[in-house]
């Protein structure tokens, strides 16, 4: 089973990297980019028998730091 796990910063957590990317886009002449938030994508290949609970635990225990990040699990 293929999984895609998308980790993003929580609302309200400042994202200096996103801000720098936003400024760089502005510098390239792209107008109207109001905000950029940087995140991470993990692509996992796991056994078909892997439970939803185990996948969720992988996210909470390692892939995301839930103090600052949210995660979303997509099964493909």
């Amino acid at each position: 089973m293929k999984l895609r796990i998308i980790v993003t910063l929580k609302n309200g957590v400042l994202d200096p990297q996103g801000k720098a990317i936003q400024h760089a886009l502005g510098g390239l002449g792209f107008e109207g980019v109001d905000d950029v938030r940087a995140g991470k994508i993990f692509e996992l290949e796991v056994a078909e028998s892997t439970s939803d609970a185990a996948i969720d635990e992988m996210c909470r225990k390692l892939l995301a730091n839930t103090v600052i990040e949210n995660y979303r699990i997509e099964k493909q």
Binding site: G12, V13, L14, P16, Q17, L62, N65, V67, I68
Partner: protein, 221 residues
Amino acid sequence: MKTAVIVFPGSNCDRDIAVALESVTGRKPEMVWHGESELPAGLGLIALPGGFSYGDYLRCGAIAARSPVVRAVVEAAGRGVPVLGICNGFQVLTETGLLPGALMRNAGLNFVCRDVPLTVETSQSIFTSAYAAGEGITIPVAHHDGNYFADAATLDEIEGEGRVAFRYATDVNGSARRIAGLLNKSGNVLGMMPHPERRIEAAHGGTDGRRLFEGLLEAIA
């Protein structure tokens, strides 16, 4: 006092802290490799050094926080053994949950490497007993990810419990409430971004860091 320094692949301040500890305690610390699952017995201090453990992959300190030896460190901290995390060591401590919050990319995006003035916020801890509350000291920082973040409720709780050990005198990296060093609830775990082990003797430009280790030695003797 018997001490241990945890060494991860990518640690680079492990020797600095080892030299500092030997200079203050008169005894060479035990260097404990990350794959060990047990710590030496009778430790008076466990130090998590600065550096880039596991290449800072995933998040700073994230992989180190899940290593076998750090599970033993968490267990020892629970028993009251003093634990000091400096720089990357502080990041590891937040990733384990021993300390609340997280350390994010510096607000200015630059790697900051310079002496910074700090205010000692409390002398009521085993790590800060040799300082006076409100005292100004100078300790160097060298980090890219030292921007301390926690939600407002957590920050209020930390402040209310007197757990901010050190505060930057002026903004250095965007840290919430300029927090530079933070204690756990029971006061036996300290995480800090500045490097006290780099201010041990006059040749370092000052000895403000040495007093942290001297105070600790006296406090737990």
